[in-house]
Symmetry: none
Subunit: 208 residues, 4 copies
Amino acid sequence: MGLRERHGEHTPGRPARGRPRSEAAERAIIEGVLHLLEDGVSISELTVERVARTAGVGKATIYRRWGGKDELLVDVLAELEGTFTVEATGESVRGDLIAYLEAVREMGGTKGSSALWRTVIMQGRDNPKLAELYHHSVVERRRDLMRTVLRRGIERGELRADLDVELTVDMLVGPMLVRTILHEWRPTPDDLSARLVDALLEGARSRT
Amino acid sequence: MGLRERHGEHTPGRPARGRPRSEAAERAIIEGVLHLLEDGVSISELTVERVARTAGVGKATIYRRWGGKDELLVDVLAELEGTFTVEATGESVRGDLIAYLEAVREMGGTKGSSALWRTVIMQGRDNPKLAELYHHSVVERRRDLMRTVLRRGIERGELRADLDVELTVDMLVGPMLVRTILHEWRPTPDDLSARLVDALLEGARSRT
Amino acid sequence: MGLRERHGEHTPGRPARGRPRSEAAERAIIEGVLHLLEDGVSISELTVERVARTAGVGKATIYRRWGGKDELLVDVLAELEGTFTVEATGESVRGDLIAYLEAVREMGGTKGSSALWRTVIMQGRDNPKLAELYHHSVVERRRDLMRTVLRRGIERGELRADLDVELTVDMLVGPMLVRTILHEWRPTPDDLSARLVDALLEGARSRT
Amino acid sequence: MGLRERHGEHTPGRPARGRPRSEAAERAIIEGVLHLLEDGVSISELTVERVARTAGVGKATIYRRWGGKDELLVDVLAELEGTFTVEATGESVRGDLIAYLEAVREMGGTKGSSALWRTVIMQGRDNPKLAELYHHSVVERRRDLMRTVLRRGIERGELRADLDVELTVDMLVGPMLVRTILHEWRPTPDDLSARLVDALLEGARSRT
DNA sequence: CACTAACCGAGACGGTACGTCGAGTCTTAAC
DNA sequence: GTTAAGACTCGACGTACCGTCTCGGTTAGTG
């Protein structure tokens, strides 16, 4: 995943010494967190102590792999991210963008996912390295998908040549985040993605 | 403000007895938090214990007014919100929207402000009542300003008659939030507001 | 007792501020330790965590008063020491010495007492200040009683004029310690004190 | 030595198979402990983990030989005990006893020796088997030397015929222990042994 | 000479206790 | 009845060792 295996792992240069780290323990920890989140345990209730108890693991085994709760949660989020897939047909820019936003919407709906998003956003100030790491390996990967779609649209002539790609990505991602994370309680109608893409494509100005 | 003065205050019906609450203490607490935030103290370092020490106040004095750190922070955010003003001339929808977004951008740049935003966002799951309270008295007030502008634009014929107002608000607010809170580190060029409004008005579709 | 009230207690100079320390908590802690010792809990099983649980007290409340388990145990020992009394009639040196040794023997037989003795002896190297404090306020007090008895014996002519008082104290205390602490399992016959005193008085040399 | 080679050693009945235990490792461990003790490391700081690190040995290598820290320390003490020798000429009871006590005094002065004594004393309650083992193989051996000297004195008529040998041993050993272990800080004058023996022989009673 | 069982250092494992910190509540004297 | 101060119980923090287990890699004998 590129996020895990960062903390105190042995350097691949020298030969592996001592008992290797248990993959079973690692899985038990991450799945323990997911299980707790699915049970509606909030982030502040998600103590390292409790995760260890749930996973049937010593606290030290957690701290051996991650520097603390935050780093662990980033990896759990990465685990969820692994399930993120987009079915972009490439037939039209409109279709691809809608497919992408639908995928984002589904992710946001996943149990615990938005709570985790919140946490990583929260940690941005406290732990800049963590935030940067997360953004480079998760956020940027997603944004790149959109950039590719948009650039192809410009090349094909479907989108205006002077389009500000970065700004457009923000205009697609931003509203989706507002709905799924900030105003989680607000309903997200099924055709939200389509309406958002259309609004972006057609513009708000009256054309009489 | 509507947010403060909620917790454990004596009912105005019966006569006030004993020593009245010190307004000086209240100011000292809120300004203590602001001072700490300006000094780069992160939210997790912002303990009630530390706030009390900084403000030269007993912990009980804080708990007498607010239910906990979260409620206190909402009031501090409301304090900041009080400085939020928009100079909307009413001359054109474009100008008003740009003026509004510029005001949002300035708020986001305020020291500690985005950290507080993060916190309230974070608390959404843990403390739904708090989130709701915050949204109704701060967020909705802001959104109402935009709705008014947009509806006036529709009436004037500047905006298309079938415009989805709520969605459009999200498309203006969302990207701004992404910049000022999520990707705080990304540069926010001076003309960002104008470019965002224009992109929204004109649409992305190529018009040959 | 002179041993307690050492750790982090407020200086009597300035006025007492804040909630005073709970004497009930203090009693609960010390009596909790005594209760555990009586239940046959060994010193290494006597964790701070367990004492806190038994006494129904937070760990911090213990650490607020004592620097750690060792200091606490010295105070518990002092508590036991408070029950140490000798019924010396002053009629004869022999009688007084026997009475004293009997008192020592009873103390050693007290549940938990010898375990505590062991601990303090043990800590001698690790924590010299603690050991010194203990010796000055407990051990020396006891030895002084014996010195007085012995000096009175010399004045009366019951004991030889050139008697080495310190050495004689050691010769009385040492064997008793060997029996009650070191070789706890060895039987201590009822007339042990008398035989010890007589052996000391009469000497081992054959007198034909 | 009689103490070592107890733990998990292969039964001599069946043929020895596999790699034999490294004597070098064993020496490294014991000398590691002695080295640490000489460096002023206290018993509570003397963790198995640290001993293993110091000796350049895996923890399992220690646990393969001894059941834990306590058993290891008994063996280290036995190592020291090996240096205990008495030069008893047999010419007079007085001379032999003094020679013996001098040997004890020298042992007590050895670096780390008294700390180890303390430890074994300490463990008496927690680990009775250990204490018994230690007493039978170290303490009793020493005491037997004294019993022999005393009985010879009685036979020769140097000592009174009704002498309580056990009690007399205690009266010789006890004061020496008090000085070298309990009151380690008290000076032990060169002629202490002689004065102690003389006091025991002559008695305290005034003989006018 | 190959086999193989038990050793070796290293270090991860599930635990327990450590001593500290903060949460939110309670109890003083002072005003 | 408030105030600042500082106690209280509770529970999580992150660390250190415990005694055990598991690696890859020796190091004898035996077959």
